[in-house]
Symmetry: D2
Subunit: 332 residues, 4 copies
């Protein structure tokens, strides 16, 4: 779930946004019967999502800080815009997929941002995973302008984005959900209305916190059992037919060779990076602080993933928790 | 999974074992075509297991420190013995179900213990959940006497014991597993050979450590989500169709009203007690220390369950982790 | 270190700030040879600090949301202002002592805030304990207006504020430190220049995180030792003459009766509240996230103090960690 | 505090003990007016302690599994014995200094152990750091033989052992403490009677648990502060004049260059090894489990030191917690 624009420094991104003055591509022709959809953020996830909209016949007006990403999407039929504001000018539906809270604030509320041109009645769907309070702030600003902002973070990863089978957790007004779902049905197979704005982020954050805890727990249990003499596959089968069963033990087991086709069997390449899990766990801790929710294991999980990032595991799949925990003293 | 004998102080138990000199019940008559089976430990779990053996036609020779438990089983057809040694004298197959390592050591290796009379070729199946190193020690002593000791801890709880659908995790020599399975098939539906002696305990301990971590993690995630404004059932459904899914979120959700028929809906009564989970997590930490396995979340889970026991949650089901974590400051 | 204004809801505070239009007290006459000093925030700490400035001959121009606090200080010789902006108009030196980041942002950068009237060359000393990044943001805004903002959080508590023996940890330009120290010398006995703006907060946060960890650690060690049969005073004396020695074990022991004159001997009343420690630990975690610093025990300490607050310990001194940890199951 | 005999495998040690049949050195001549003292365990600590007894005029009868250590001590005037039993035969005072519980059990209660020959009225002082329950068990066995066993673990390290300035924490009968103190005064400067047998261990364990927590806490606070822009020496001076002050921040600061003459300034060589701290933290967790004492930070500290050992820090001083925690992602 890395994003192209996260590869470029945030500073550069913001400078570009401020300086961008290229005019809206004059070649844009919207022949489709579907309404045009704006798309901001063509990273690893967003570029697949925008392409799926094109495939389903939606004219797409796109913006990204990366000219290559924009050019590639233009080849596939999209119109390109020079700023988020230019995107917003031409559409009444818009999807954004950005790395973090700061980019969402800049793209929506910054100079040349969406809010500077957004039309009344526009539906803004933000699929970024960010702080729920930022989503609520953006929604309030949108409402003041007569638009509707909904948070719609996803689960499922790059392959699910490509195959259009993402899960969307949507927060926002009940009355706008049908319109949101109609659009998101083109990008995912499971569109859930979670409640008021911010609850989509809440659901995503809670899921990923539990996922991190389960993954570390699975890694600890597998490592302990193996050191006690158990065969990894047999131990996994015991867990998976018993009360220890979880997605991490069953579908995405972190011990190489137990499950086929997952990152643990490919040197922990691909999948969902440890640095991204660290980010989501940080969001969960912020949210927990804001409502004084006790999260002893969630807090410990953040520290463990941060230790892993600091020790060079940031680019590996988050199931590399097992790799980190199973390390043994070589001096003996 | 509490045991009758655990209700009596361990000191009294050991004194009784030492002083017991009642002779083997002279009324014992074995008419069945099945071989006699010894049974030591008629607690909440053991009394159901022994009754299931009787129902399947096995003559049972039983011992427990509680005279009531013994008398009740005698009414149902069992023979009763005055000491573990007397049990062992009359059988070549024996099952034990005891509260902890100390009782296992006393019942097998203590005065008037099983090892003082065990016959060559006897199969000893210990279903207690104890330290794997104690299982290994008992197995070595049994081997020296020409008998075979296997650890065979269970998962499934009192109802599964009553209904004969327990899972047995068996550790011991491959060559004896068929004989063990033949007997245990009368008590459970899933009999797994885990490897050498001690690995049954290892599998049980690993499962319960992961279970505790998942349960606390589910409690944290549900509590955080609810405080962020999510409906509990909707949040559970998001988790259960996503990567946070685990047995604790799906089958045994700790938030009242989310799943029917589990302890969270009945004031956390019944089920698997917090004090017993604390015990199993202590065994996991001992085992982890012995092999220097890192278990940061397992260690934290033990501390959380110990805090709960110290704050009066010992008798509640272990899903009461949610009850403990969701507490809010009433002064505001 | 609670503040009067924290007793009133933040909402009310902000509303008052916006509505306040009372004119600057016309009776203000500055006869002293000392320059006038502005003071914003007359809570438990601030009211002592402002009084100490009056005692040392400084004319004080004060503002607080609480009219009682303002009236009381006026009796003692201060001038009172209707808004922070009015305070700033009349002074070139100003001290603020506020509950949290949001109040600092409002008092300085909000409507009728200090920045709306601040004169060039004014020295602004903020003694609140807040997020270092907010201090840095305020300093940048001040610099743009030709003023100097320094963070100057304190350690020492209410008694030290009253007695003028606080420690100030000051962050800001080297060239302004002498002027800051000259003023703060009237309020404290130890004025430390920590480095660039924000480092005062950094030093404070680091100290309090280590303090919380040491206090919980001392509570754990004392509780364990007492349960193992050691006399509390004897155990404390062993720790205090050995490598376990810390401020919490030696000066502020959390076990009642070990040290005289501390909150543990007075039912944990007075001192530094658990809710305030929770707040500082939250700041530490935010700061740690911002620089990706590993703080496994700091994160655990936050969770423990949050659990305590959620269980009704928020108003007790933070040494009540011992009270929470020593709880025992009464059912046995 | 490593021991020579810990360098040889425990198995070899026990085999040697069992096979040893060398006769008591016939050349032993006791000319001193002081009574002979037995000494078992001539490791890094024990060899200095035994030498100090010799210097003070006590005839010493020594045993160690290492022939070199024995030969070296013989050169310095000690008599040597072939087994612990031979040592016990010739003395009425005996000191032992062994690596762990298993060695203490073997040396006292094993074949050719002290209890096989101990004379009535003998005072046995065990300075090993072991499980308090093992100390209690040894004391009960000694009492049955008419001897007195006291636990007397030390703090202070190798240099303090050499210089005779150790602290001894002594557990055992009040009536025997004077005799114990008279002997231990030759080896240390601070001899504390902690209470009944086992409380010496309890005090030692509690001190070292608090020490580990403080050291990790200091490492976290220093690392966080440094990343926030604070100078290490300045930050340490703030902590050390404030409430975060502890032995680890003041005397033994883990950041290189802050304090002179400590392991952090010498690549974390020397001092008290991480693997030994891990061992003591394991004893603390065992003791805490036995009395159901909550030790959330103690448990976390054990996991952190175990992680460090598993990642190759076992031989470094325990202040290398800073080295482990300050690691940063090099990929960025």
């Amino acid at each position: 779930m890395a994003h192209t624009i996260s590869k470029i420094s945030k500073m550069a991104f913001l400078m570009t946004l401020r300086k961008a003055r290229r005019s809206f591509s004059s070649s844009t022709r919207v022949l489709s019967s579907q309404p045009a959809v704006g798309f901001v953020g063509l990273g690893n996830m967003g570029n697949h999502m925008a392409r799926n909209l094109l495939k389903k016949g939606y004219p797409v007006v796109a913006y990204d800080i990366s000219q290559e990403s924009l050019a590639a999407l233009k080849k596939d039929g999209a119109s390109v815009a020079g700023t988020p504001a230019e995107v917003a000018k031409g559409v009444t539906k818009l999807v954004s997929m950005l790395p973090a809270s700061a980019e969402v604030q800049e793209v929506y509320a910054g100079k040349d941002g969406i809010f500077s041109t957004v039309q009344k009645g526009t539906l803004l769907l933000d699929s970024s995973t960010i702080d729920p309070s930022v989503s609520q702030d953006m929604a309030a600003k949108a409402e003041a302008l007569g638009a509707v902002f909904m948070d719609a973070p996803v689960s499922g990863g790059v392959n699910a984005a490509r195959d259009g089978v993402l899960t969307f957790m949507v927060g926002g007004p009940e009355g706008s959900f049908a319109e949101a779902k109609e659009l998101l049905d083109n990008l995912g197979k499971n569109i859930v209305h979670c409640g008021a704005v911010g609850t989509g982020q809440g659901a995503k954050i809670c899921n990923n916190m539990l996922l991190a805890i389960s993954m570390i727990g699975t890694s600890e249990a597998m490592n302990l059992g193996i050191r006690l003499g158990l065969d990894p596959k047999l131990l996994a089968s015991v867990l998976n037919t018993s009360s220890g069963r979880c997605w991490s033990s069953e579908i995405y087991n972190p011990v190489p060779g137990v499950v086929q086709g997952v990152p643990s069997g490919n040197d922990y390449k691909g999948g969902f990076g440890t640095a991204l899990m660290m980010k989501d766990l940080g969001l969960a801790q912020n949210a927990a602080s804001s409502v004084k929710a006790n999260t002893p294991l969630g807090a410990a999980a953040l520290q463990i993933y941060r230790t892993m990032v600091n020790h060079g595991f940031g680019g590996k799949d988050f199931s590399s928790a097992y790799l980190f925990l199973q390390e043994q003293d070589k001096s003996k």
